[in-house]
Structures are given as C-alpha cells and as structure tokens.
C-alpha cells in the first residue's frame, strides 16, 4: 500500500486525529478542529482510508430518536498512528518549528 499524498490539509487532519487517537471523530468535527472546509476534507479522508491509515464505521443510533441521520466516524489505525507521528515529526523538523505532535493519549475514549 502506497503512502498517501501529504498536503497541508492531510497533515492537519492527522494532527487532529493524533491528538486523541482512540477517539473516533466524524468529518465535520475533524474539519472544524483542523480549520478545513468540507470540500478538502473528504478527498483527504478517502486517501488516508485507502492507504490503510484510517478506519471508519457508521455509528449505530436510532435516527428517529436522535433526530438526525447516522454519521461516519474515523479513527487512526495502528499503522496510521505510527506513520502520522513520524510524518508530523519529520515535518516539524523540516520546518524547524516547535513540536506540535501530541503525545499518546490513552484516556481518549470511544463514542
């Protein structure tokens, strides 16, 4: 499996997902935190998922009771988390910026 093409948007998504790697997030939630518009989010998520860095699932809710339709949640895979951490660290070094890679957060809980 090839590594996905890295754009600033992809890096921003990885950073958001890596901040709480155990907590699945839905698209707009990721977009808001990463400061992305909807248009750039979904191609990047699709690339990451196709490369095996992300896994996704549709939430199991009663749509009538919740008053909304089901959302798809995304989460880093083990490989994805490792690679994302490496890439973000490499980018941080390359740009000579203070590290913004969050450390592992075992307290991240599921939905």
């Amino acid at each position: 499996m090839h590594d996905p093409r890295m754009t600033l948007q992809t890096l921003a998504i990885l950073k958001v997902l890596l901040s709480k790697p155990l907590e699945p997030r839905y698209g707009l939630d990721i977009a808001r935190e990463a400061g992305l518009k909807g248009g750039t989010l979904y191609p990047a998520l699709a690339r990451l998922e196709r490369a095996g860095w992300l896994t996704s699932f549709q939430e199991d809710i009663d749509e009538a009771a919740e008053g909304r339709r089901k959302r798809r949640y995304y989460q880093l895979t083990g490989v994805g988390a490792t690679k994302a951490r490496q890439i973000l660290e490499a980018e941080t070094r390359r740009l000579s910026l203070p590290s913004f890679v969050p450390g592992p957060n075992p307290s991240g809980a599921g939905p």
Partner: protein, 201 residues
C-alpha cells in the same frame, strides 16, 4: 426600482433560500454521489447526509453541499487512484478553451500592436469592423436621393401558360428613362406581376 429589489425582492429570495436551502443541499449531495464509482455511492450518500445534519443553518447547509459537490472529482480520484473519464474529458476541454483564449489574446495583442504602428491600416480595419457590425440604413419611401430610392423587391413574372419566374428587381429609378424592372417586364411577356415587398428595412 433599486429600492423594490432591496426591500422586497431580495428578502423574498433570502426567505426562499432559507426555506428550501436544506432541501436543495440534500439534492445536491445526492446528485454529487452519482458521479462517484457505483460501489461508493450508497456509502457517501449516507455519510454526507449525516454530516449535512450536523451543519447548522439553511444557508450554511447549502454552502456545505456546494463545497462537497465541488470536491467530488478529488474524492473520486482519492477513492480510485485515478481521474474518472468525465473528469479527464472536462479537463481536456478546459485546457483547450484556455489555450484558445490565450491564443486569441496573443493574436489580438499582436493585431493591436500592428494597428497602433500603422494608422491607415487601423482606419481601414475600423471601417471593416463597422461595416460588419452596423446595420444598413433603412430604406425610405421618400428621399431626394435617387440612389436610396432603389429598393430591392422580389417579383414573380408569370403568365397562365408558363411557370412563375422569380426575380429580384430594384424598385425606383435613377433617371426618367424606363428602369431595368420595366424592361424586364416588357421582355418577359408576362400577363401579370406579383410583388412581394416582404419586410422593408
């Protein structure tokens, strides 16, 4: 007029947009997923509609749908690893249009340079353009200029035994001599003359 638009039409349009915004947004998203590979359509329809419900406000929903719709080619490329045929064709057409535009701009720039350096040619060019894009003067029934009094008229010369002969003659005369229309009429042996003036001017 401006006030009517500002205080009546614009609020109505906005009110309608607020009312039908979510409906249009949903239609746009459903339509957008039809451009994705078949195996992904159902999933992305459900995903994007689920996300749409999380967007607050009618107009924001519409904006979200438009942004997602614009990202469909990129999403497809991300899913399949290549551009779809319709994307490739569209790109090629846009490339051709852009190339044509650039070439047209270059040609006009060059022509402009030549015309600036040659005033006589510029004047001739201007006249030619004017001739092509200005309508000819309307013919008038009353004029002192005999040249302008010549009006082309479609005529059928015929008698009972022969087929009608359609000709175009000029009505009017430059002098007191019989004009070509009269001579044609005499020589044809026609028994009657049908005039079709059509649309004058």
């Amino acid at each position: 007029m401006k006030d009517i638009f500002l205080w009546v039409v614009l609020p109505l349009i906005l009110a309608e947009a607020v009312l039908v915004g979510p409906w249009i947004a949903e239609r746009l998203l459903r339509w957008g997923t039809r451009w994705l590979p078949e195996e992904y359509r159902e999933r992305y329809t459900a995903d994007w509609l689920g996300e749409l419900d999380a967007v607050p406000g009618s107009l924001f929903k519409l904006g979200f749908a438009i942004r997602v719709l614009l990202s469909v080619p990129a999403t497809e490329r991300a899913l399949t690893g290549r551009d779809a045929l319709w994307v490739l064709i569209t790109k090629r057409l846009l490339d051709l249009a852009a190339t044509g535009l650039v070439m047209a701009v270059m040609a006009f720039t060059r022509l402009g340079g030549q015309l600036r350096s040659n005033p006589e040619r510029a004047e001739a060019f201007e006249q030619r353009i004017k001739q092509q894009f200005t309508r000819p003067p309307k013919p008038s029934w009353t004029t002192d200029d005999p040249e302008k009094a010549l009006i082309p008229v479609n005529v059928e010369l015929a008698n009972e035994s022969e087929e009608a002969l359609p000709v175009t003659v000029e009505l009017g005369n430059k002098s007191d001599e019989p004009g070509p229309a009269w001579k044609l009429l005499e020589e044809s042996g026609a028994e009657y003359l049908r005039l079709d003036f059509g649309r004058i001017g």
